[in-house]
Symmetry: C2
Subunit: 149 residues, 2 copies
C-alpha cells in the first residue's frame, strides 16, 4: 500500500508533534508500546497514550488498549509520505549552502506545513532523486508524474 492509494490527503492533516509519533512508529516497524514511544519522544506516557488515541481515531493507527499500536494502511502510506517530504526538503536545502544537519533541523521545524502537492512538484523537478541527506528516498508516490506515463 502506498501514497497513490490515498489521493485525498493534502499533507497538512497532522501537527508537527503527531508527525514525530508516526515517524517513530514507522521506524520501529511492527507493534509499538506506549513506553517505547514516550521515552523515544521524551514525553510523559500519559501524553503519549492520549496522542495515540487521537491518531487511532483519525485512522492512522490500530490501537489495542494496553497492548500497543501499529500503522494502518492509511498510516503506513501517510508516514511514507512524511518521510519522503522530510528527505526531499532536506536535500533541497543542502543545495543552498546548508549542511545536512542544518537542513534536517530546519526542515523538521517547517515540514508539517508543506503540502503534498508542493512536495510532488519539487520531487518531479529534481528528477525524483533516490538518495537524500538522511536516507533513501522511496518513490512511486508522486501523483503528478505517475499520472502521465
Amino acid at each position: 500500500m502506498n501514497e497513490q492509494s490515498y489521493p485525498e490527503f493534502t499533507g497538512l492533516e497532522l501537527s508537527p508533534r503527531k508527525i514525530d509519533y508516526l515517524k517513530f512508529i514507522l521506524e520501529k516497524d511492527g507493534t509499538v508500546k506506549t513506553t517505547e514511544i514516550s521515552s523515544g519522544l521524551q514525553v510523559d506516557p500519559s501524553t503519549t497514550s492520549k496522542t495515540l488515541n487521537e491518531l487511532a481515531s483519525a485512522g492512522y493507527l490500530n490501537h489495542i488498549p494496553y497492548r500497543g499500536v501499529d500503522l494502518t494502511e492509511l498510516g503506513e502510506a501517510y508516514t511514507q509520505f512524511l518521510v519522503r517530504r522530510h528527505r526531499i526538503l532536506s536535500l533541497l536545502l543542502t543545495h543552498y549552502g546548508l549542511s545536512p544537519e542544518e537542513a534536517c533541523d530546519e526542515v523538521s521545524r517547517f515540514e508539517a506545513f508543506v503540502s503534498r502537492d508542493a512536495v510532488d512538484k519539487i520531487c518531479s523537478s529534481m528528477g525524483h532523486p533516490m538518495f537524500g541527506v538522511c536516507g533513501e528516498i522511496s518513490h512511486g508516490k508522486c501523483l503528478h508524474e505517475e499520472n502521465h506515463h
Copy 2:
C-alpha cells in the same frame, strides 16, 4: 535602520499570525488604525487590539491607545526580514515547478518556521537575487556575505 542592526534575532520569534500583522502594518506605512488591520486580516477588532498590544510589548510596535500603531526601529528591521524571507523562499519554490501564486501560498504557510540563518544561506547561494515573484527583494541584510567583504 536595517536587519544588521539587530544581529540577535533568529527569525523564529513570531507566530504566523503575528507575521501577518507586521507585514500588513509595513505595507500601510505610517500610523495604522485597529479597524484597518482587523478588516484587512478579517479578524474581530478585539482580537486585533490584543495582538497589537502583544506586539507592542515585545518591542515591534509603538501603540498609542485609541490612536493606532506604527513600527519601532526593531519592528521595521524585523519586518524587512520577514518580507525578504517570504520573497526568497517564494522565488526558490518557483524554481521547482510551482507557479508564483502556489509558491506564495505555500511559503505563507511555513515561512514562520524558517530561520534567518537558513534564509541568509539560501540568499547567498542564489546570488542575492533582486527580484522575487512578489516584489523587489531588498538586500544589505544577509549577515553572512556582508561580513566577509
